[in-house]
């Protein structure tokens, strides 16, 4: 894996990606590149298609047109078998957690280890408990059901599940939304640590600027179905892009119009 600045093939390269649901054009020509080992954060208002973008990259949603390359391979036209190969590279933290509520916590965390890597259940269990410890959860939660956990704990279990198989590319969809600020910082730190330690490429979504600054190497802003700005995190405060300026300062006045009345 070469550095973010190198001329190597980008880990993820998206060109002219379009996706509509009925008459609603959610993605309208997204261009995005993520280098290997880079942590990119996508910011943008609610309902601007951030989750839809991630789901297109992972292959949970089929785009209407455009190109998505992972490690230089086009994925939008891939067959089922190749797609499964690519899927092994991914780990995903869903916005709502999406923990399997029919399985205890440890089996959620160990799911990929048991079902995909065919690890023995006893070994997978102790591995799961190690990973739970990394995200700050005691061994006692291992046998609880996800429904018995608080929101913050569920997010951490979800994080543990998404990093358990040590994926090359991690997606984190609003990992800190709905958490208190302290728990938010803890999760951010965990994400940074997991990404650094595993040398992974990360794509996170947030609309929390404090969180974005902690996680990101690069930031991209999505609005109106397009990436309206992208650059290193250090440049975001003086980029004189009106969209970014309005968003990071949380102003009601500006180019981004909220449709309050209709």
């Amino acid at each position: 894996m070469t550095s973010a600045a190198g001329y190597s093939v980008p880990k993820i390269q998206i060109r002219e990606l379009r996706k509509a649901f009925g008459p609603k054009q959610v993605l309208d020509g997204v261009d995005l590149e993520i280098a290997a080992g880079e942590s990119l954060v996508i910011i943008g208002g609610s309902g601007t298609g951030k989750s839809v973008l991630i789901k297109n990259i992972i292959g949970l949603i089929r785009p209407d047109s455009g190109s998505i390359m992972i490690d230089g391979r086009e994925t939008t036209t891939m067959g089922a078998a190749d797609r499964e190969d690519i899927m092994h590279k991914f780990g995903m933290l869903f916005q709502g957690g999406a923990l399997f509520d029919s399985l205890p916590v440890w089996q959620n965390v160990a799911f990929g280890l048991i079902q995909v890597q065919r690890m023995a259940r006893a070994a997978a269990r102790s591995r799961a408990i190690e990973i739970l410890a990394q995200v700050g959860l005691p061994a006692e939660v291992a046998d609880l059901s996800p429904a018995e956990l608080s929101g913050g704990m569920q997010k951490r279990v979800s994080l543990a599940r998404s990093i358990a198989t040590q994926p090359e590319i991690m997606f984190f969809d609003e990992p800190t939304t709905g958490l208190d600020p302290i728990m938010g910082s803890v999760i951010d730190a965990l994400i940074v640590k997991s990404v650094r330690e595993l040398g992974a490429t990360a794509l996170s979504i947030t609309h929390d600027m404090a969180s974005a600054r902690r996680i990101a190497d690069h930031i991209a802003m999505i609005h109106g179905g397009k990436i309206v700005w992208s650059g290193p995190v250090s440049e975001i405060d003086h980029c004189d892009n009106p969209y970014v300026d309005q968003f990071i300062n949380g102003r009601a006045e500006g180019p981004i119009q909220m449709q309050v009345k209709r």
Partner: protein, 257 residues
């Protein structure tokens, strides 16, 4: 023209649904027969569908057998009730009432539960999460349920047959004053292997259909709690209708001249 358009639209919608269900079925069945399989999931579903349905199926069967004996006695008492009642009970239970009533009861229990569970997994993105964990939802969620339904319903119906005949026996002996030995002998004489076998074949078909409907509607549910509720209702209704439809078809295959 304004009359034909809605007819055309609903015809197209109807065949679209048929096509979707057919594709879903083919895909799911292909995952049933291709490795890897999930034995733990299959075992869990067999317990859920088979074992936990025993009380409801047993109760249905015993009361059906009892009422069957009672009703036929009032109808046939003037003729040779002693031999007619064991015959009616054993033929009706094994051919029709055992499989159909067990199928309907299990459809109410199991199709609904499957649709609710898989539907909730869909709307809370657990199915998407499975996919990102390189686990095919058709293989992990749907195939085990179809296999369990296909295997467990015949066993349940076998139990229902025995309990149903027992219900008829109890009423005949204790209420109608029949001779136990004669009743048992008549039951045994009138019981045809083909009746039992056709009933078990029906059960396997019903078991497949009712789990399929639960899976299909759950897998395709949309839009939160309301969508899951809708999926559950649709699963039970479509499973019940398909049970009656396939019951007629299987009966024709076995017994039509």
């Amino acid at each position: 023209m304004p009359i034909l358009a809605p007819i055309g639209r609903s015809t197209i919608a109807f065949f679209t649904v048929i096509g979707r269900v057919a594709l879903f079925t083919l895909l799911s069945v292909s995952h049933c027969v291709r490795p890897p399989i999930f034995p733990r999931q299959i075992g869990r579903q067999m317990l859920e569908i088979g074992f936990y349905s025993l009380p409801v199926v047993g109760l249905t069967a015993i009361f059906t057998g009892m009422v069957l004996a009672l009703q036929s006695f009032t109808g046939f008492s003037r003729f040779s009730a002693e031999s007619a009642i064991p015959n009616i009970v054993v033929v009706s239970i094994t051919r029709e009432l055992g499989p159909v009533l067990a199928g309907l009861m299990v459809a109410g229990r199991v199709s609904a539960a499957i649709a609710a569970e898989i539907g909730t997994m869909r709307v809370t993105e657990q199915i998407d999460a499975l996919t990102t964990l390189s686990t095919n939802p058709h293989k992990y969620l749907i195939a085990p349920r179809l296999i369990a339904g296909l295997l467990m319903l015949p066993l349940l119906v076998l139990v229902a047959d025995i309990i149903g005949v027992l219900g008829g026996y109890l009423v005949s002996i204790f209420t109608l004053g029949f001779n136990p030995a004669t009743y048992l002998k008549n039951t045994w004489d009138f019981m045809q292997p083909i009746d039992v076998i056709s009933g078990l074949v029906k059960a396997a078909v019903f078991g497949f259909l009712l789990t399929l409907m639960g899976c299909y509607h759950g897998y395709n549910s949309r839009g939160g709690a309301q969508g899951v509720g809708q999926a559950t209702t649709n699963a039970v209704v479509s499973a019940s209708v398909l049970i009656f439809l396939s019951n007629y078809i299987v009966t024709t295959l076995f017994f039509a001249e």
